[in-house]
Amino acid sequence: MDLGEINPVLLVASLMVAATPLLLAAIGELVVEKAGVLNLGVEGMMIIGAISGFAISVETGSPWLGFIAAAIGGAILSLLFVLLTQVALANQVASGLALTLFGLGFSALLGQSYVGVKPPSMGEINIPFISDIPVIGPILFQHDPILYLGIALIAAVWAVLKYTRIGLILRAVGENHDAAHALGYKVIKIRIMAIMFGGACAGLGGAYISLIRVPQWTEGMTAGVGWIALALVVFASWKPWRVLLGAYLFGGITVLQLNLQAAGVAIPVEYLAMSPYIITILVLVILSADKSSAPASLGRIFHASH
C-alpha cells in the first residue's frame, strides 16, 4: 500500500470530469422540479442525448454541433413527456419511467450503425501560463469547454432562480400552481419550458459521456447516471450550488475508491464499490437538519378548471 501514489491535484481534476455528466443532468432536473414537475425520465433523455450528440459529431466532424444536437435531442424527447403530463395530464412518475424505457430502446435503434466508431475529439482549453500554474492550473484551467459550461449553468440557474422575475414565477408555479394561475401566470407554458430545459441539460450530460468521457457509442452506455442525477436533486434540497457539491462528492468518492484500490489499500473492494452510495446517504442524513423541502406542487397534476 502506498497512499503517496495518489496525487490529490490530479484526483480533484479527474473528479471534476467524472462529475460533469451528473451535474449537467441534475441541474436540468432541478429546474424541472422547481417548476413542480417530477420527470423520472432523465436516464432516457441522457441516452438520447448521448446518441444524437455522437451521431451528429461523427457525421459533421464537429463536437460542438454534436453537443447542440444532444441538447436538441434531449429537449425533443422531453416533449413526449410534456405531451403526456401537461396535455394529457397523465401521472408523472409513470410517464417518466416510460420515457426512460422508450429512450433506451430508441437510442439503441438510432445507434446501430455507430458501434465501433471513434468520434472527433473536442480538446481542452489550454491557456498559456495560467494552465501551467502548479496545483491551480490542472484543477481549474485544463479542462474541456463543456465542463466549464456545466459550472456556468449552475451559476446561471442559481442567479435566475434567486434574482430574476422569471425565477420567481418559476418557483411560484412550483410551490402553488393554483395560486400562480390565479395571479395570471401561464402555468402550463412555464412548465413546458422548464421540462424542455431539463431535457436539453440531460442531453448534454449524455453527450458528455459519449463524446468526452468515454468516448464511444454503445447501447445503454449511460449505465444509470440519470438515476443518480435524480437522487442528487433530492440530495441538494433543490439548491443549485448543492447540486455541484453533491456531484463532486459523488464523483469524488467514485474516483477516490478506484485510487485506493490502485494504491493497494486493504479495504475489501466490495465495500469500496459501495462507498459512493453509502457516503451520499450519510451526508444527506447529516444535512437533513436543513428542513428546506420539495416544491409543494411537485408531481401534482395541474388543470385549470376555470
Binding site: Q216, E219, A262
Partner: protein, 357 residues
C-alpha cells in the same frame, strides 16, 4: 408429468412435421446476454453467427435473442427456440449454465452449446477460449515496453477467467522485466464505460504506462490516448481505431471457426458432446496486429511466443511457479492442468493485494 409429456409430444410432432424440411435446412439459435451493439462480448458472438450464415447460405437459418437476463428468462428463450424447431442452440454466457442443462433435459433431440461453463450432457457441449494465451503475449510486450515498470490492470469481477488473465500477463511481464509491478483495479460491474474511463485515468495518474483491460469498452484506450505515452491492448474486438498508439495489439474473440464446425457437425449428423477449450492454435483466440509503436525486436519475440503457444511447444503456465503465499504450485518444467486453470482463484507469487472474496 403432464408438462414434459406435452413438450415431448410437441417436439415429436415438430420433428415429424419439419423432419423433411430439416433435412436440408439446419436451424441454429443464439442466446445473447448483452445487446449485439455492445461492441464487445456479444458483438463478437454475433459476428460468429453472421459468419455461419455467410458460410452455409440457404442451408442454415439462424435466429437470436439479445439482452436475455440469466435465469428464468434465458430458460424461456431457449425453450421457445427449441419449440420453434431449432436443431442447435448456442448459449453464450456463463450464467446460462443451469438453464441450458434444464432445457436440454426437456429436448433430448436438440443440441446445446454452452459458452464458458463446465456442465455437459448427452446433448450439451461446452466451449471456451484460452484467452490467457493472448494475455501471455500482451504481458511480454507490456514488460518490455514499460518505462515506469508499473502496469495497470482493469478487471470486471474477480472470477477465474479474469484471474487467469492477470496471472498469465504478470508471469510473462516479469520474465522479461523483473522490476515490473501490477496495479489491479476491479470495476465491480460488467458494463459501465464511464467507470472504465475513470479506472484507466486513475491507473495512469498513479504511474502506469501500460493499461491492460478485461472490460469491453474503448474508454481505457481513449484515456490512454489523452495521457500520451501510455500503451493499451484491444480487448474482445480489435479496437483498431486506436492503433498504432495507444493500442499496440489486441486479443480478439473469434468464434466463427468453431460455430461453423459445430453447425456442420449437426447438419452431417456427426455432432457429439465435446468439451472444447481452444486457444491461439485453432484460431479461437486471435492476436491483433502488433503496431509499429512496438520496437521490431520486441514484436519478433512476441510473435515467436505466439507461435510457440499456437503449436503447443510452450504452455503459458509452465513451472517453476509459486503461488502468491509462497507455496509451490508447479515444479520446473511442469505445466498447469486444465482443472486448476478453469477454477483459478489465486494469484501467482509476486502479485500484490488480495483477490476480493
Amino acid at each position: 408429468m403432464k408438462f414434459k409429456s406435452l413438450l415431448t409430444t410437441a417436439t415429436i410432432a415438430l420433428g415429424l412435421a419439419t423432419g423433411a424440411v430439416a433435412q436440408d435446412k439446419t436451424k441454429v439459435g443464439f442466446v445473447y446476454v448483452g445487446p449485439v451493439g455492445d461492441g464487445g462480448w456479444t458483438y463478437e458472438h454475433n459476428k460468429g453467427r453472421l459468419a455461419v450464415e455467410e458460410h452455409f447460405g440457404d442451408k442454415v437459418e439462424t435466429v437470436f435473442v439479445e439482452s436475455v437476463p440469466e435465469g428464468p428468462d434465458a430458460e424461456r428463450v431457449m425453450t421457445q427456440m427449441a419449440l420453434d424447431g431449432a436443431d442447435l442452440i448456442f448459449t453464450t454466457s456463463f450464467g446460462y449454465m443451469d438453464p441450458t442443462i434444464n432445457v436440454a433435459k426437456k429436448f433430448p433431440d436438440v443440441k446445446f452449446e454452452h459458452a464458458t461453463g463446465y456442465k455437459t450432457a448427452d446433448n450439451v457441449s461446452v466451449y471456451s477460449a484460452r484467452f490467457y494465451e493472448g494475455r501471455a503475449v500482451q504481458g511480454h510486450i507490456a514488460g518490455k515496453m514499460t518505462k515506469s515498470n508499473t502496469i495497470g490492470y482493469i478487471g470486471s469481477y474477480p472470477i477465474p477467467e479474469v484471474i487467469r488473465g492477470i496471472n498469465s500477463a504478470y508471469i510473462h511481464a516479469k520474465k522479461v522485466n523483473p522490476d515490473v509491478e501490477f496495479k489491479i483495479v476491479w470495476a465491480y460491474t460488467w458494463f459501465d464505460p464511464a467507470k472504465e474511463a475513470d479506472a484507466a485515468t486513475v491507473l495512469i495518474e498513479q504511474g502506469a504506462d501500460v493499461i491492460l483491460q478485461h472490460t469491453d469498452s474503448t474508454a481505457p484506450q481513449a484515456a490512454a490516448q489523452e495521457a500520451g505515452n501510455v500503451i493499451t491492448f484491444g480487448q474482445a474486438s480489435d479496437m483498431g481505431e486506436y492503433a498504432p498508439m495507444p493500442r499496440v495489439s489486441s486479443i480478439i474473440d473469434n468464434w466463427a471457426p468453431y460455430y461453423i464446425a459445430r453447425v456442420q457437425a449437426v447438419a452431417d449428423g456427426t455432432w457429439s458432446t465435446a468439451n472444447t477449450w481452444d486457444g491461439i492454435g485453432p484460431g479461437m483466440v486471435e492476436i491483433g496486429e502488433i503496431s509499429d509503436a512496438v520496437p521490431a525486436d520486441v514484436k519478433e519475440e512476441a510473435l515467436a511466443l505466439k507461435a510457440a503457444l499456437a503449436d503447443g511447444s510452450y504452455h503459458a503456465f509452465t513451472g517453476p511457479l509459486k503461488k502468491q503465499d509462497g507455496s509451490d504450485w508447479l515444479a520446473d518444467g511442469e505445466t498447469a492442468d486444465d482443472g486448476t486453470l478453469a477454477g483459478m482463484n489465486f494469484y501467482v507469487e509476486g502479485l500484490e493485494g488480495e483477490i476480493p472474496q
